[in-house]
Symmetry: C2
Subunit: 389 residues, 2 copies
């Protein structure tokens, strides 16, 4: 049985990506590497929607990219605002605290978004907070903040905005320049269809002014050093070369599909997932209108144990979904289906089928096809693609 | 023409490692991952020669592991001693300086080792320096410090010792417990026969006391967080899973060969390289008795341009060797041959052949087989292996 890994990252690797990753090793200070570096940088710039930012390629998880933002922008004692809707917003707050920042947490209940009015109030109440950290897509709750609108609030207040787009970039629309975002972060194991190990930080002009002033220690994550080397097509220390080969191929696949088509595919599959889970008796966690295109979180029905459900889905049907994350009580009652990167309609059908079967096996409800019936009309929109470039 | 990548890391990947890296992605919070993590940790412990240290697996280059040592052990204003014989010793000093440490650099000329007497004097002159940073194998000069002896000096003075074994561990003898080293670092792209992207930090009992006291900010590289997760077979944030598959296979290959055999192979090939380069008219950089088993650095003959030589060796003969590193004037006059990880006698013969051919093409000397004649008796020792376990 070939297993289906449907957690919100790492994601399954397409054969093309695996083959690319298997290319012979190259000198990380040679011309072949520089060509890969330049192509990936250009691809990230396109996916992020920026012509003005510097793209930095870091060998780390997304958390490393998050830390790089804090270390390069924030000095000990600085006041910062962190909007948090879940585990990864909390992580941004924790990293800031580790660096000695005075952190104002704008926390909302799990499943709820950061709203513009509340953010505006928080900004007004903290005029000394120069940097704002927001999560585009909160992986722990399956919620996407309306970052374009929030960015306008931050801009109107004259603050710097750092956006964790780790699990959104390349799977949903992101316009760094048009939305006026100062720093955008992502990671290879999400929509980029690559293994984990490479992270991206795009750093805009206003952010560089903060970099000049930050007194926090940094070396491996030092953005100025990264920028200097990136201009020559290199990284300051030895990068994850094979993983970068994978990212290069993942970006080529995205370009062939067309970004708009990839975004539409993610949205369509997300909506079908939500309809299927709801039909199966689960309660969607994220507020309607803010449901993520890359991960769906849902509360399991009373009487169902999350771990028993996950175990059945895997052992009998070969489908691996995620449980909850974080300390909150709610995390023990939710499952999360990752539908990002290399996923198509048929993959999602298999997830819903396994869920319905497992729920019958747990005596919850008969497997009568209700989840697929709910998902089918939405998946049927698959043929409506836009022209790829 | 299949090219031979003979730089001191990244190294060529054996087919077995490439196949292992191509395994389907797994959940980084699941049992399969924990099994890989445990096997790799046990392998690193064996290679490092330690039963008492905690092995931490970090997704970064070796430089990230170096920074993790500084961030977890050193607070701003602390006095530290850094022994530096080249680029990577300087890097340890630079990282310490970035973290606000007061750095006493014990610098020696390129090609020279750190000597026990000088280290003892430096320790005596700096009684407030609690942590000492040393490079086991200095990749920029092809020099191996006698770390066992230096460690005794550090121990006698009651200081903590951090050893950069990035380009030595798994290729030459290293006995963390027997030599009483407190922290040992390495990286996947060296003798481990894997792509870059994973680094190791082994942290001994005395070092953990320093970790408790360090006030330097850290999150991604926080050793306590890494230790907590490592006990369950995981990492704090998403690791470079595919690269870890590669490391797992690389360690299996090392075990099959037997560590003592792998060390002997590296030594034999290094000695043959030195003999060949000397016969070809190059001058070995490292002092005799301190020549590295993983990389040989040598000054090219007068009248030969390093870049012209490297270009010819690659374009006509498919062999890629490295030039010098660092700002020192000497680096422009040296070549470095990497002979670590997946390399056997035949590979080295190809390097020497290409060098001799290229030197003839540059009108330096006739290609009369002098390099191979010098190397041959040493390579002939290949059959003397010890029993693998």
């Amino acid at each position: 049985m070939t297993e289906q890994l449907r957690i919100p990252g790492p994601t399954p690797l397409p054969d093309r990506v695996v083959r690319a990753m298997s290319r012979p090793m190259v000198d990380h200070r040679g011309g072949e590497f520089a060509a890969v570096h330049r192509e990936v940088s250009a691809g990230v710039r396109e996916v992020f929607g920026t012509e003005t930012a510097d793209v930095l390629i870091v060998t780390s998880s997304g958390t490393g990219a998050m830390e790089s933002a804090v270390a390069n922008l924030v000095s000990p004692g600085d006041r910062v605002i962190v909007g948090t809707c879940g585990v990864f917003g909390d992580r941004f707050a924790d990293i800031n605290a580790a660096y000695g920042a005075e952190v104002t947490r704008l926390s909302v209940d799990w499943g709820q978004p950061i709203e513009e009015a509340v953010l505006a109030e928080t900004l007004a109440a903290n005029p000394d907070a120069k940097v704002v950290f927001l999560t585009h897509n909160e992986t722990s709750t399956g919620l996407t903040n309306h970052i374009a609108k929030l960015a306008r609030v931050v801009r109107d207040a004259g603050r710097l905005l750092v956006v964790d787009a780790i699990s959104s970039a390349s799977s949903m629309d992101l316009q760094m320049d048009a939305w006026d975002l100062d720093v955008v972060l992502s990671g290879s194991q999400k929509g980029w269809m690559s293994p984990p190990g490479i992270a991206f930080a795009a750093v805009g002009p206003r952010a560089w002014e903060f970099v000049e002033r930050s007194r926090s220690p940094r070396f491996y994550f030092d953005w100025k050093s990264h920028r200097t080397w990136a201009e020559k097509g290199f990284t300051p220390s030895t990068p994850a070369v094979s993983t970068l080969f994978a990212v290069q191929e993942g970006i080529r696949m995205l370009r062939e599909e067309g970004l708009a088509n990839a975004f539409a595919r993610h949205r369509r599959i997300a909506d079908a997932t939500a309809a299927g889970l709801f039909a199966a008796g689960l309660t969607l966690l994220a507020r309607e209108g803010y449901r993520s295109a890359t991960v769906t979180a849902a509360v399991v029905p009373d009487g169902i144990e999350v771990e028993a459900l996950r175990k059945l889905m895997r052992s009998r049907h070969g489908v691996i979904i995620a449980g909850g994350r974080g300390q909150a009580k709610i995390s023990e009652r939710i499952v999360r289906v990752g539908h990002l990167g290399a996923i198509d309609e048929g993959d999602l059908v298999q997830v819903l089928w396994a869920l319905e079967q497992a729920l019958e096996e747990l005596d919850h409800a008969p497997a009568d096809g209700r989840t697929l019936a709910a998902a089918q009309p939405i998946l049927a929109g698959a043929s409506e693609t836009v022209a790829a470039h």
